[in-house]
Symmetry: C2
Amino acid sequence: MIEVITSIAIARKVFREIRDAGATLGLVPTMGALHAGHTSLIERARKENDRVAVSIFVNPTQYDDPADLENYPRTFETDLEKAAAAGADIVLAPASTYLYPDDYRFRVTESPLSQRLEGAHRKGHFDGVLTVVLKLLNIARPNRAYFGEKDWQQLQLVREMVDALFVDTEIVACPTARETDGLAMSSRNTLLPDEHRRLAPQLHTVLDAGGPVEEMAAALGAAGFEVDYVERWNDRVLGAVRIGNVRLIDNVEI
Amino acid sequence: MIEVITSIAIARKVFREIRDAGATLGLVPTMGALHAGHTSLIERARKENDRVAVSIFVNPTQYDDPADLENYPRTFETDLEKAAAAGADIVLAPASTYLYPDDYRFRVTESPLSQRLEGAHRKGHFDGVLTVVLKLLNIARPNRAYFGEKDWQQLQLVREMVDALFVDTEIVACPTARETDGLAMSSRNTLLPDEHRRLAPQLHTVLDAGGPVEEMAAALGAAGFEVDYVERWNDRVLGAVRIGNVRLIDNVEI
């Protein structure tokens, strides 16, 4: 039976009891609207830890666009079923006011990486991400926390934050889960109307085909996307596009 | 025998062993140049915890003035003797590069309180303070951490950060230690030439006498200080002055 916790005080008590019992804990932070990408993280956490917690929290501070926050899919009841089926023991689903008792006065910031790529197109996004991830890690104090490679820049920033601030959690990176047509799984995919859903896999197809980033951007534009960026970063190429009201990101190894 | 640790990796291992043994830990964060104010914090920590650690680290990120950082007194050998005599088991004295592997890319920020009072006169000061305190708390994971009331604004910000970020450490406030003439103990006092040292207790005398803050500021100016601020804040009055190259702060309950 999955345990749903909304109170931070109760969560800290429950997580402390797990630690005191000498059990290991894996945390999978999510914003809900769970899909097979999330459940693959939960399944991995299940294999590697005695106890598994999933946090479900649509974090307002990482949205610069109120419409994007409002439209983000919320499917709490089916999320609970999926989390339980994938092996989670605990779902932490606090209210926003519980996670931000300070009304977001205290923030974790980073520069310059957090201002590039996604950060250049979503003002303040990574401040919100880093701050909420730190809060969740401090509340749960997991041995391991699981993040998908789809959000590549987020993954790097979270790893580097954990190292910089000496957080005692191992960050585990998990491969991007994809639909059979190559589209990276994302909660936002459910917002795509059919014609856009048919186009969406082109983002992965174009990035995966390789070549100069300018040509990839041109190909995506020609396919019907508005291109936010296509950039190489170390051994990856990262892209972000918009189609209708939905923004899609992806990245592949070069 | 006091244990001196400079490596973060070793420190984390030592503190983990303390936790795993079920012992409680008190941390006293300092910038060294220990005086009776610090030793009163260590003694209190000694009474309330099984093990006591003192960190000695002159944190470069909280100085906006390189001369102030350079002139800050450094007395490591006598610090070790004083810490040991007051009951500390461990001194954590890392190199700056060890605490900032990220070269200070990741920061804890706060607004608006951290921009007022001390923050208005020392740009970026509290970002540096909050960031280093969070790092030290994450490294040591103490049950309790001890801060002096002399740095009143710092104490409030640290308390509020710990609440906002769900750090599992109790912040213990300790009364300001004073010389017999009322001067708040401070490592910077040793930098005062005799004539300034004779004047310095006037800061406390004027704040303690009460009255309108404008009159206090005028009295301090007439006594020979350059006044950065005198302000009421809740049930305290806080003041900061400069005399020669030395900056002094103090605060008293109204």
